[in-house]
């Protein structure tokens, strides 16, 4: 088997510029690997084999002709099935959208296309991005490439597994409460949730609009930076996207993180944190201190409320965002309804899975007359306090660090019947979505069982460069490097 899929995105870029290989070779190598491994992993829901081959041939000619290559020339990417790619199915892991074909490109997809990227296919996810294990997909769970009996995390579990198993160079995910960072941690890759407003959400099927961000999932911090740089920036189609200029790629990777002061939130060291996870984090911090990085304790006092606030606000927005799936215009439609009301009821009863229904009910309740003040409004106030916690902490430190998840990847079926326990796998990640700040997970160690452990770095708004630079420094310290599944480790 070709070793091309095991390169990093950065290595692939320099290989193209030296004409060491052609896009067709790269794409073909990835498609072969997908063919071999996807049936077991179920990372991809759909593979654009023909489209990718056609596109690669066009790019081959471009490479032969010479001239400038786009920043993502010939890079094979996977796309979480929550993003619209014109002319292809966009299911969101739901029976509700199984027949839906997107008639337009998401803004980030358009940008990547323009920069030469090749899309290999759409990846599996928890239905409408609601979940932490990809077990909520209507199309079967995805398996963790490090251990097939375990979950890849979620909701961007398909993208994480595809990157980790080298079924693509990098992938797009979406993060509402940890849906990029948690699966990145579970699959031993890098996953970034950018600052809210940094990447256009146009074409991202909404779960919770004031939380959702699209972000890169890649093998290294540098790769994540490249993909981030390619999709970041203002979009007139998204009023919440920021007009602030995006730094150059050099600036994103050029900070000296050895002088950073890092904060360790004391509230995160609570019951439920796995010993191996804790040890891995503290060991990494000790190594960093050896390089001159300062580590100190910080306090984020409203942390205990984050999960409750997150579930009230995110489900409130979700209950409204998912109202459009009513069987009238597109997607799944129940047969044999005798009235309009029955059409709504039968369609939504059969089209949505249990977790989505649970969250719609929760959000509808929180917004209802008589409960709005006590739930939605109160939660919105606490949300502001949580942001203030971070603002205060960032007056003292350059970045805050924590484990990404309290535990290594759990077993398939282990938590699916217990939603509250499942919700706790997001406790270190969802506060950042409440605050709208950027955060990145990167692999720092493997447990005794060989399972990946992730560390989360958090930065002030629009300071993603701190994440990439500190991430790169940590990667240098991690020996052997973890970039998904090692290529000598068999899958299945």
């Amino acid at each position: 088997m070709s070793n091309l899929p095991f390169l990093t995105l950065a290595e692939l870029r320099s290989g193209y510029s030296r004409k060491e290989f052609q896009p067709s070779e790269v794409i073909e190598a990835h498609l072969k690997r997908i063919e071999a491994l996807n049936p077991e992993l179920n990372a991809y829901l759909e593979v654009f084999a023909d489209g990718a081959r056609d596109r690669a041939r066009t790019l081959d000619k471009k490479l032969t002709q010479g001239g400038p290559l786009g920043p993502l020339f010939g890079i094979p990417l996977a796309v979480k099935d929550v993003l619209c790619v014109e002319g292809t199915k966009t299911t969101c892991g739901s029976k509700m959208l199984e027949p839906f074909i997107a008639p337009y490109d998401a803004s980030c997809i358009r940008r990547l296309r323009d920069q030469g990227a090749v899309f290999l296919g759409k990846t599996n996810m928890d239905e409408f991005a609601m979940g932490s294990s990809t077990e909520n997909s209507a199309f079967g769970p995805t398996r963790n490439p490090f251990a097939l009996e375990r979950v890849p995390g979620g909701s961007s579990g398909g993208s994480a597994a595809a990157v980790a198993a080298h079924l693509c160079q990098a992938a797009l995910g979406s993060d509402t409460g940890g849906s990029i960072r948690q699966p990145a941690a579970f699959c031993g890759i890098v996953g970034l949730k950018p600052t809210y407003g940094r990447v256009s959400r146009y074409g991202l099927v909404a779960f919770a609009s004031s939380f959702d961000q699209i972000g890169p999932m890649a093998k290294t911090s540098e790769d994540a930076a490249i993909l981030f740089w390619a999709i970041a920036g203002h979009d007139p189609k998204d009023m919440t996207s920021s007009a602030r200029p995006v730094p150059s790629l050099e600036a994103l990777l050029g900070q000296d993180s050895r002088r950073f002061r890092l904060g360790l939130p004391k509230e995160y060291f609570v019951e439920g944190m796995d010993q191996e996870v804790r040890d891995a984090l503290l060991a990494t911090l000790a190594n960093l201190e050896g390089l001159g990085v300062q580590v100190e304790e910080v306090s984020l006092p409203h942390t205990p409320y984050a999960t409750a606030v997150y579930y009230i606000l995110a489900t409130s927005e979700a209950s409204s965002n998912l109202a459009r799936y009513d069987g009238v215009k597109y997607g799944f439609r129940a047969k044999d309804a005798d009235s309009l009301l029955e059409l709504y009821e039968l369609t939504r009863a059969a089209g949505f899975g249990p977790e989505v229904k649970r969250r719609i009910m929760l959000g509808t309740y929180a917004l209802s007359a008589g409960y709005y003040e006590a739930y939605y409004k109160k939660a919105a106030q606490v949300r502001r306090l949580i942001l203030e916690d971070f603002t205060r902490a960032f007056e003292k430190v350059d970045a805050i660090v924590s484990p990404t998840t309290p535990t290594p990847p759990f077993l398939l079926g282990e938590k699916i019947e217990d939603p509250l326990t499942m919700y706790l796998s997001d406790i270190y990640t969802n506060a950042l979505n409440l605050a709208g700040l950027p955060g990145m997970s990167l692999p720092i160690a493997r447990t005794g069982d060989g399972l990946p452990v992730g560390m989360q770095i958090m930065a002030p708004a629009f300071m993603e460069e701190r994440l990439f630079c500190l991430g790169s420094l940590i990667e240098e310290l991690t020996n052997p490097p973890i970039r998904g599944v090692p290529f000598d480790q068999p899958i299945a």
Binding site: A208, S209, S320, D326, K329
Partner: protein
């Protein structure tokens, strides 16, 4: 018992922006169903709203004209409910912190002038249309047209300070005129660009508490609003006087049955679960967004009366449409006889303008300068009134130089005394008996001579001169006896 009526109106005004509220689809009426749509207004998965600045500017302008307070920061909200004409399952509207509050509108009724308070003015998007057609192949099928979905709407809510159906109609007329003046909407109730819901209740005169109110919908013209309110007030009084209770409900006006029919009760009312729209950042109004207002209709009306010495009725009609008022002022500019100018417009031109005067883009299809030339020729005695009427009618059809035309066609009045005297002599010779009749005191015959002379001059004789000369001739005959 004497009853007091309390009415509050909620008016939805479609804004005449070029594109829709949150997407680039054209905002036009009457296109084939579902041809003016895009992923955004169809509410497809993944789309986001991009606010139309023009709609905001139009709403600010209206709020300023209503003397309302425009808030420096306002919020959009989602109003959640399921209906097939609402593709997202929610309507983007404003709820807490609307664009403007606390305005007022002056109305004129037979009882005099009254000021009605405006509670709030906010922006929202229109829904689509459902068409239930019995003649379609599947009985009972409904069809959805989403062309109207996302058209910008401005909702203007009045205080419950309207006391009669007549006042309600006057309020709507004043509001319609205002939006036309501001050029923010054509205010056309038949096409639905201005829609009105009413809250009505009655209470014993002198009572301090409000009665239970009913909400009236489906009134498609100002006249229907008057009829529906009158019907509903009478119904409520009848119910209360017979010892019954008014139910809090929503009623539909049926023009066919000329009565209000129940649509839904309080128990069936929606819980709209309003919450701040996360896809639109809080709207911050910047100073330069507040434009200078044009002269408002009530101010123009007053000025016309003062400056041009017009009656209430004359100034009322001339200011009905800003373009007509502009035409009048241009005419007076070139023909400085305001009273005559007004008469000529009201009598000769208005009927051809009328059919198009309910459109925003109406303008009188005739040059005020040309009209002024025609009227000046009358005043100068070059042409007579009949010729002037003909010329104005022609000018409405096509543009030409009236003076050159009069000269070319020889339409000028004949003021040549010799020629007129020759015709008089000829006429006297042909009709000696009528001459004698006049001389015998039957002065009615005078008209016969004028008519004959006009005929002989092909209508061009200067009528004043003709009269004088004819009189002189008769007087000479009298003297001869």
């Amino acid at each position: 018992m004497a009853w007091e009526t309390i009415i509050g109106l909620e008016v939805h005004v479609q804004l005449a922006t070029r594109s829709k509220m949150f997407c680039a689809c054209p905002n036009v009426f009457g296109a084939p169903p579902n041809t003016l749509t895009c992923p955004v207004c169809l509410g497809l998965p993944g789309v986001l709203p991009a606010l139309n600045k023009q709609a905001v500017l139009f709403a600010i302008k209206t709020a300023k004209a209503l003397d309302a307070q425009v808030h420096p920061c306002s919020l959009f909200a989602r109003k959640n409910y399921f209906y097939p004409d609402l593709p997202k399952g929610y309507q983007i509207s404003q709820y807490e912190q609307p664009l403007a509050t606390a305005g007022k509108l002056r109305i004129e009724t037979s009882g005099g002038t009254k000021t009605i308070g405006i509670t709030r003015l906010h922006l929202e998007e229109d829904a689509g249309k459902l068409i239930h057609e019995a003649e379609f192949t599947r009985a009972g099928a409904s069809y959805v047209d989403l062309n109207r979905t996302g058209v910008p709407l401005m909702e203007i809510v009045s205080e419950p300070e309207i006391s009669t159906p007549e006042e309600a109609m006057a309020y709507l007329r004043a509001l319609r005129e205002l939006v036309r003046y501001l050029k923010v909407s054509d205010g056309n109730m038949e096409e639905g660009s201005l829609r009105c819901d009413a809250n009505v209740s009655v209470r014993p005169e002198g009572s301090q508490t409000f009665g239970t109110k009913a909400e009236l919908k489906n009134m498609n013209s100002i006249r229907f609003v008057g009829k529906a309110l009158a019907y509903e007030v009478e119904r409520q009084v009848r119910v209360l006087e017979s010892g019954g209770k008014i139910a809090q409900e929503t009623l539909l006006w049926s023009e066919k049955l000329e009565k209000t029919l129940p649509m839904r009760s309080k128990e069936e009312a929606h819980d709209y679960r309003y919450f701040p729209e996360p896809d639109i950042l809080p709207l911050t109004i910047e100073g330069e967004w507040i434009e200078a207002l044009p002269e408002l209709p009530w101010d123009k009306r007053e000025r016309f009366k003062q400056v041009y010495d017009l009656t209430d009725e004359e100034s009322g009609i001339l200011t009905e449409h800003p373009a007509l008022a502009e035409f009048y002022e241009a005419l007076v500019d070139a023909f400085p006889n305001p009273k005559a100018a007004s008469n000529w417009i009201l009598v000769e031109l208005l009927k051809s303008f009328r059919p198009k005067m309910n459109r925003l883009d109406f303008f009188p299809a005739v040059s005020p300068k040309r009209v002024a030339r025609v009227l000046s020729m009358v005043e100068e005695g070059v042409i007579n009134q009949n010729t002037a009427k003909d010329l104005l009618a022609r000018l409405l059809e096509e543009d030409f130089d009236p003076e050159a035309f009069v000269a070319q066609q020889g339409l000028g009045q004949i003021s040549d005394e010799k020629a007129l005297l020759a015709w008089i002599d000829e006429l006297f010779e042909r009709h000696p008996s009528q001459v004698n009749e006049y001389l015998d005191g039957k002065e009615k015959v005078f008209g016969f001579f004028v008519g004959q002379l006009m005929k002989m001059s092909q209508g061009k004789a200067n009528p004043r001169l003709l009269n004088t000369l004819l009189k002189q001739k008769f007087d000479a005959r009298k003297g001869a006896f």
